[in-house]
Symmetry: C2
Subunit: 241 residues, 2 copies
Amino acid sequence: MNVVLLSNGIIPGKNKVMEYGLETIRKVVEKTGARKFVLVPYAVIRASHDDRVAAVQETLSELGCEVIGLHRCEDPVTAIEQADGIIVSGGNTWVLNKTLHDLGLINVIRKAVITHNKPYIGWSAGANIACPTIRTTNDMPIITSVVMNSLNLVPFQINPHYIEASPAGHNGETRDQRIEEFLAVNRHEVVAGIPEGTLFHIDGETLNFISANGKSMKLFRHEVAAEVFQEDDNVQFLMDQ
Amino acid sequence: MNVVLLSNGIIPGKNKVMEYGLETIRKVVEKTGARKFVLVPYAVIRASHDDRVAAVQETLSELGCEVIGLHRCEDPVTAIEQADGIIVSGGNTWVLNKTLHDLGLINVIRKAVITHNKPYIGWSAGANIACPTIRTTNDMPIITSVVMNSLNLVPFQINPHYIEASPAGHNGETRDQRIEEFLAVNRHEVVAGIPEGTLFHIDGETLNFISANGKSMKLFRHEVAAEVFQEDDNVQFLMDQ
């Protein structure tokens, strides 16, 4: 596999979307020779899909890559099959995952990534749907939807935009407490909280954690103290859950 | 109806659960003569259900009320029918709503509240499920569940723990943006964001917004600037959505 899963799109000081992950994406592009990418924009609710394509094109132009919007393709299945690689935008995970199911794209993307080794690059909601399910999203369920299976490219759950802090004086559950609730109900799963500015790179069978800003990944299991991992720490065991 | 919907359980300076809403709850108890309450604890994941009952009992002892846990009752349907009123604890909205459906309690509670005018008091997840659906919850979907209808005691959506602020440097969507997404998809609905320390009181047909800390309610509609309401402002129109 050639998969890059980013916590979020933009971090302070890096104004282009996924700019903080560009060196990892460059490695993937060089390794695979992928040039023509389709962008899956269905998570985008508050902006235009075309604008999102343009923003990603701006980032990938530096690597000589072309980006087209899947919403502009007459047949999305064929578009995925003919593309060299797939990019999935952040936004609302519920709308994204439901749309992929409605359009029959879940297995098409899985096949492209797993069988044909096409690059998959996703941030935020695009990272959520690379997990077995979308049960660790932070989004509101703005549509009525079964919590459906997602792409299952990696065998563990990711919590993108992971953050320890809460606004001062706020008594709502912290993210750590919400993840603890997930694990109390799903005791044999693990959740990797990846802060903004960090990403996972799956290169073949090898999993790497990369941090553009020194922030660390926090790994949660039921009734075990959370473990902290820095860039270049060995996190390979996560692929064997 | 005699309904009290609180944003959250505990606020700074008020250490008992729902203490900041006690004067409103006192009015409801005095009006209805309710003494024996059942607590619905199914949203509680990280604490014991019995401890939650004890905490609510501590608050309501001041009003001469008795609180029993629904999880201790042999027949939950009969327990609801025999109680004078219903209290629903915060926690995980998904687990709560699914459990009420699984136990066949949705219509039992609706009937108790709407037909028999029994008091309904809910905070956080307990306020979410008083809405038509749970699509404006802030929780993770830690179980696989259809986004089911909920109690529909009020005809609008509530976002409990509503907050404008985000942690410094965090680029994840703000709550306002998440609500904007909800409204982009659900254009004819309204969402009332109620900050911690505030509550709705439905007394018969009359809706009141009450704030224990001076914080205001923010009302969101699709493509309309959010409106701000203070305690005692007229919010009756919300009952006619």
